[in-house]
Symmetry: C2
Subunit: 423 residues, 2 copies
């Protein structure tokens, strides 16, 4: 497969990727759906009538929406037909778009010329906790090695409901929050700016397909048709606020201050060449959580920090999505086991993804081991947690032996100083 659009071999967005996003430009303030190809965006609003396959011919309007939900609410065969249509349209052997100068002029926009937006109306966002190494690291730090993993952890994908309103697109600055903390155990709590701001390296999975009904379980073995695609997710976390507030009902304001996603939804189909063995599970989970097929992915994940003092970027973490203990099919089965209904556009966060190596940990909490081992940056500066002015960037890509590279683009956010609290 080769596109008439040229791009370098290390592009995140070859013709084999074609991730979906939503953008506006200076020229057009209306949100349009597009796919990324090389350094360009193909505007699907403009070419919607070219989706003339048997399934999409009568559904072209989904490409004229301002969000992806209507397209995601269709079925996997629709998504596959869309992908095939796009690959054909963009192929070097295909004249329809390539040789229509007027249409090309209208339909292609440079990625550097647009503003990207959260591409989906997220009905509900759930954050899981599915990396064994992350859960173990946190457990060791707070409860010691023997009691590191809670008893339920290997029986079900632990998760909690998150906040949808504060899901923001890459590039959105985040303010250091104020909140209550307990600096000294047993003393009075304190109100002020968070002192332990952190990122969490996660991958988010978007739910697609028609809504399910209340009471309907989606078992892991039937979950594949419900998984539309993936983004990078930075679950910004105020560690000191979380520690004080989370008992007994879980994280709340420590997490709802903002969760950043990358703008391009990489589809399941694009990731298929990178499927790898699932993480070995012992004990064998209950039948509703079982699936026989491989559904783990070799996605290389990195986190960069750039401070305000220097343009030099330090990669502080090199992790991989394949370190996930629970698959997203299992997460989806857990999400629905008691009958909770799904809507297209729901977002499932993987949980912080940490590997075994000390530089593969997906949060500053782990990288600096609770602040005891400062992380040295290339600038010579040190970091225990995120400082004001730091820009945190998550990156992800797949690469196989044939040279096929599927990338996620960037999930970036700058931490701004706290907004002063005025009594």
């Amino acid at each position: 497969m080769k596109s008439f659009i040229e791009y370098s071999s290390d592009s995140d967005f070859p013709i084999e990727n074609l991730p979906y996003g939503v953008f506006t430009s200076d020229k057009n303030a209306q949100k349009h759906i597009g796919v990324a190809i090389g350094e360009w965006i193909l505007d699907l609003n403009i070419i919607s009538r070219l989706f003339d396959g048997p399934l999409l011919k009568s559904k072209q309007n989904v490409f004229k929406e301002e969000k992806l939900n209507a397209f995601m609410a269709l079925t996997k065969p629709h998504w596959i037909e869309a992908r095939e249509t796009l690959q054909k349209l963009l192929d070097v052997s295909s004249p329809a778009l390539q040789n229509n100068a007027e249409l090309r002029e209208k339909a292609f926009v440079k990625q550097t010329d647009v503003q990207m937006h959260v591409p989906v109306e997220v009905g509900d966002y759930t954050d899981f906790y599915s990396s064994l190494q992350h859960a173990t690291n946190v457990g060791i730090m707070f409860r010691g090695k023997e009691a590191a993993l809670f008893e339920n952890w290997k029986h079900l994908p632990v998760g909690y409901h998150g906040r949808s309103s504060s899901i923001v697109i890459s590039g959105t600055p985040i303010h250091r929050p104020y909140g209550q903390t307990l600096p000294v155990e047993g003393a009075a709590p304190h109100f002020g700016p968070c002192r332990l701001m952190d990122f969490e390296l996660e991958v988010g999975a978007f739910v697609g397909g028609p809504p399910t009904q209340l009471g309907e379980r989606v078992c892991a073995k039937d979950a594949e048709d419900k998984i539309f695609g993936f983004v990078l997710l930075n679950d910004w976390s105020a560690r000191d606020i979380q520690k004080w507030e989370y008992i007994p009902l879980g994280p709340f304001t420590a997490k709802n201050l903002g969760s950043t996603i990358s703008p391009w939804i990489v589809t399941l189909e694009a990731l298929r060449p990178f499927i790898v063995d699932n993480f070995p599970q012992d004990p064998t989970p209950f039948p509703y959580l079982r699936h026989d097929d491989k559904f783990n992915f070799d996605i290389k994940l990195e986190v960069d920090i750039q401070t305000e003092k220097s343009p030099v970027v330090t990669t502080v973490c090199r992790s991989n999505y394949r370190y996930m203990y629970w698959t997203v099919k299992q997460q989806l089965a857990q999400q629905t086991v008691t009958g909770c209904n799904l809507r297209p556009g729901d977002l499932l966060g993987s949980g912080t993804i940490s590997g075994e190596a000390a530089d593969s940990f997906g949060s500053m909490l782990e990288l600096s081991w609770k602040g005891t081992k400062p992380v040295r940056l290339s600038t010579g500066e040190e970091r225990k947690f995120i400082q004001d002015g730091d820009t945190v960037t998550l990156r992800g890509h797949c690469l196989n032996a044939t040279g096929l590279r599927i990338g996620f683009g960037r999930c970036e956010g700058k931490l701004l100083p706290a907004i002063h609290f005025q009594e």
Copy 2:
């Protein structure tokens, strides 16, 4: 104030109430916004052009929507003008609607002739835990009297994010869920139907006003303009599932199986005559949580159980919203303290509301004291938790010395048997 619509003195919906809801009828499948008056609904879609006050004249379209969000996204002065317009239109001295037989015929629908719907697109739902007696009861049961209340509880309104998709309207049946439980401490977990199904008697507050920005705090003293109105809320809870899953990230599938709300949103203005002293707070909360004015409400709350064996109804709980330790202004301040943005239509659950008397506890967990004291029903049956076929109905009303009665209608749900799990 007297309406030309007649109703009895014990109606939930006098002209002083005028709660908002969304309905369809056999005659019209399109969702319309209406207000309840006596046994009738005034269809606001039909009379939208009668909102001719200075603020709403240019905003009449909000009454033609299928959800209340657009109306809620306006400001308190808009809501007050709407209320005044409606009270004038419905007044016995007012001819515009009263004497227009053709319009009356179109604009009034019997409540018994309609299907009510969730009236709001709920962007985010948060459940709090703000009744001191409830938190204390649960604490005593699971941790003993000395350690009953967690250290943070009197410093901040503890809460957690809930699931929006499974918020359902009164009358929607709920299936007993399947899930994982740990019947014997230290033994293997079990997968099967929940054995400890419960209701939670709550009041939900809907957020109104324009969306706030990410990073923006809404302090308690400034929160009033953000509170549109209130509904009854049954936070169905699978106690045995919750106990196994909730460590360390809080309740998840034990709660997302369905949360039932009453169909009519009773506005803050309608409840104003029933404002009472706030619950005394010691220690004094941090400044962001402080407000000087009274913002607690005397709302009498009851829970009925009707079993499948008999039409006889037993009122198992008599509680009151005034038992809330934290006000909804304080809950809203906590929700936004780290900068979480609000959207009109967000729902804040009060948390289970229990008083001091043993028959005022707002859940079967407390009423049956963890299953140790079965509750005797009028039919002679006993209940520790909710059984298949039981219908649980929450009711609420305010009544003052002048005879003014503001009611909430009913929040009803029947528990159906579990849907068998087929491997």
